[in-house]
């Protein structure tokens, strides 16, 4: 599996992502935002961070990078695209995913472990999890409050495109377990085609016991398996 990790000025989870891909025996390369050439890659990942200092809106300027046109093409052809944290914000700004990520309702940067429930285990990103599984994964963001118009939100739920939801330890999506005010505790969604996933939690930071959780591994092994012919 050849994976392109797109780096923008201000990305800061790019090396974690690179390492996470290697840990599941994938082949990772950095692709600078000014470069072109995603040919030959099997998957594209957009890391977390603060591209362009979050100026204007998180992701708004990164979305105009030359490489993003290729990411759009790659996604349109069905290629798997994963955006984590700032990567999720960029995918929303680019229109590859619906909605927007607003400032947390607490107005505070939230950095802690949260529990998320796997709502869909039949996506290429989550096949190695059980539906309903509760994962412990860190978040670290100021703008993770998912919002969209009522029609879009209704469609996301009706079409089962909510992949991860913030829950408490026992798997209940309570208000207390919602770290940012996201509508319906949404932590991650997929596009219509199921090949573009955006999520605020950081699975690449939950890969090793020494980091407190290995619950993020399933995401990377799922993607790898989807790309390896059986």
């Amino acid at each position: 599996m050849k994976v392109a990790v797109i780096t923008f000025p201000g990305s800061n989870c790019d090396y974690d992502l690179y390492k996470a891909i290697q840990m599941v025996d994938g082949e990772a390369s950095f692709v600078w935002h000014r470069d072109r050439g995603l040919r030959g890659y099997d998957a594209v990942m957009l890391p977390g961070g603060f591209s362009y200092g979050d100026y204007l809106r998180p992701g708004a300027i990164a979305r105009m990078s030359p490489v993003m046109e290729e990411v759009m093409d790659f996604a349109a052809k069905g290629g798997p695209v994963l955006g984590i944290c700032n990567g999720f914000q960029i995918l929303c700004e680019a229109g590859l995913l619906p909605g927007a990520l607003m400032p947390n309702r607490s107005l505070k940067f939230q950095s802690k472990d949260v529990f998320v429930r796997v709502e869909r285990a039949d996506t290429l990103f989550t096949a190695d999890y059980d539906a309903g599984a509760v994962l412990r994964i860190p978040i670290a963001h100021h703008d993770g409050n998912f919002e969209a118009d009522q029609e879009t939100l209704r469609r996301l739920e009706d079409d089962g495109r909510v992949v991860f939801r913030y829950v408490d330890r026992s798997g209940e999506p309570t208000d207390e377990s919602n770290p940012n005010g996201s509508w319906h505790n949404i932590a991650g969604i997929v596009n219509d085609g199921g090949n573009v996933l955006g999520m605020m939690p950081h699975p690449e930071r939950a890969m090793e016991p020494i980091l407190g959780s290995t619950d993020g591994r399933g995401l990377f092994t799922s993607i790898l398996r989807s790309l390896t012919p059986a």
Partner: protein, 90 residues
Amino acid sequence: MSQYHLEIRVKPRPGLLDPQGKAIHHALNSLGWDGVHDVRVGKAMYIDLDAASEDEARNTAEAMCRKLLANPVTEDFEVTVVGVAEGATS
């Protein structure tokens, strides 16, 4: 060609939770301004732009808003032409 001075106001859509506005609202109430019922926080941008006419300047700025300056999911925008320097550039 004239140089137009534009003020662009980007504001959160009505009905959308604006945590910053809410925090300021509470602060104003706690300072004794009980009559404050709502606060929304947006941003203003001041752009100087070459254009052949006021209409062209406004249309260009609106295109900028749709493409980059405002997020159509969460924000509305308003463009005001606040001044013009005739023949400042050619």
